[in-house]
Symmetry: C2
Subunit: 217 residues, 2 copies
């Protein structure tokens, strides 16, 4: 496997995997890049190019073997394993995140939940005790997790991220509206709905200008 | 302005804007692509290339004017306007989303909230009455919004998206774990933490294999 796969390609693979899993459940065995592209609103050429990083799955003119491609993506993405996750920050958003059934179904086990608020540390959430974030590093050194999900306020995020990194966490999904620094060997991804909305207003603005432009004619 | 800017570039512009706003608050007037790149963990070359789509902001060797670049990005992204948003689905996630203070601060006004559950329709959330999703299309035709945020279960997402599209919404941010179809003139973005985690396990898997490989030596 080539070492340098663009991050943007890697980020699309789970989408392909999810789509293939659905096609497989529908009982189909072969799918074309055209069909995959149509379902995802991208070009068939992009599908073929993305999948070409991982060897030759399809035969020219015959399409892809659904089960073979799904199985290969599963291995590439590490989805044949289960992964241990700690959630830090159990405000409204953290609670919503940590009770989302999709994590468990897809192989992500939330094994620890942390907060700093004495009013909720020690109480139970979905049958699991909320732990004190002050103990996070020591706890997770003893009993490691691979992934941390951070849902704390912006000004607390860097400190929490530092503790997760010190405890050996390799991947962090950050919901705090700030970009914490991490060492190079740790992967950080952000989920920030405002940034996504702001990239959409680019298009809304252009559409608005076009319609205003045309009404002036 | 060139018409076809890659979507991946557009998606990074709000991140640049946020960083520039912070640098501006710190009282600085000039910033280099190296500094911007360092802060965002990307190469200075990527920064320069991304910003080159929007004309020449920087002078070779002198860096970018912080206020000019921030102002230009603000206009490009339509962040000098306020945008009207409807949130559909007020379970745990929808409530967390719709009470997030970042929307209001960044120019997004949540002006309508919908759910289908008779137990909560008619009740108040953050001072706003929860409306019946059955009336969404008629309501929003009368009193339009530009953006819809969808936080309903997967099997209800397509119907809600259809109603938003019928009511003239131009951009939809979808949290439901499925990919609804939209007509070409409507922009749809997904927020799905499972897909983000799955792209991170690609790296975790590779790191695990490397360390297992080296321990076998």
């Amino acid at each position: 496997m080539p070492l340098e796969i663009p991050e943007v390609v890697i980020s699309r693979l789970p989408v392909y995997y999810r789509l293939l899993a659905r096609i497989k459940r529908e009982g189909r065995t072969v799918v074309s890049s055209q069909e995959l592209g149509d379902a995802l609103s991208v070009t068939p050429a992009q599908i073929r190019k993305d999948l070409s990083y991982f060897g030759r799955f399809g035969k020219q003119g015959r399409g892809y073997s659904v089960s073979r491609l799904a199985e290969e993506l599963k291995l590439i993405l590490g989805l044949d394993s289960r992964w241990r996750v700690a959630v830090v920050g159990l405000g409204r958003l953290g609670r919503a995140i940590s009770s989302y059934p999709g994590f468990d179904q897809q192989g992500f086990d939330i094994v620890a939940r942390y907060d700093s608020d004495p009013a909720i540390v020690g109480s139970e959430l979905d049958g699991q005790m909320i732990l004190d974030v002050a103990n996070l590093e020591a706890d997770l050194r003893r009993d490691p997790v691979e992934i941390g999900i951070v849902a704390v306020p912006a000004d607390a995020a860097q400190e929490v991220v530092n503790a997760l990194v010190a405890a050996g966490v390799g991947a962090i999904l950050n919901y705090a509206p700030t970009r914490p620094q991490v060492p190079e060997h740790v992967e950080l991804k952000q989920i920030n709905p405002v940034l996504v909305l702001q990239s959409m207003t680019y298009h809304l603005r252009n559409a608005r200008e076009e319609s205003e432009g045309s009404s002036e004619r």
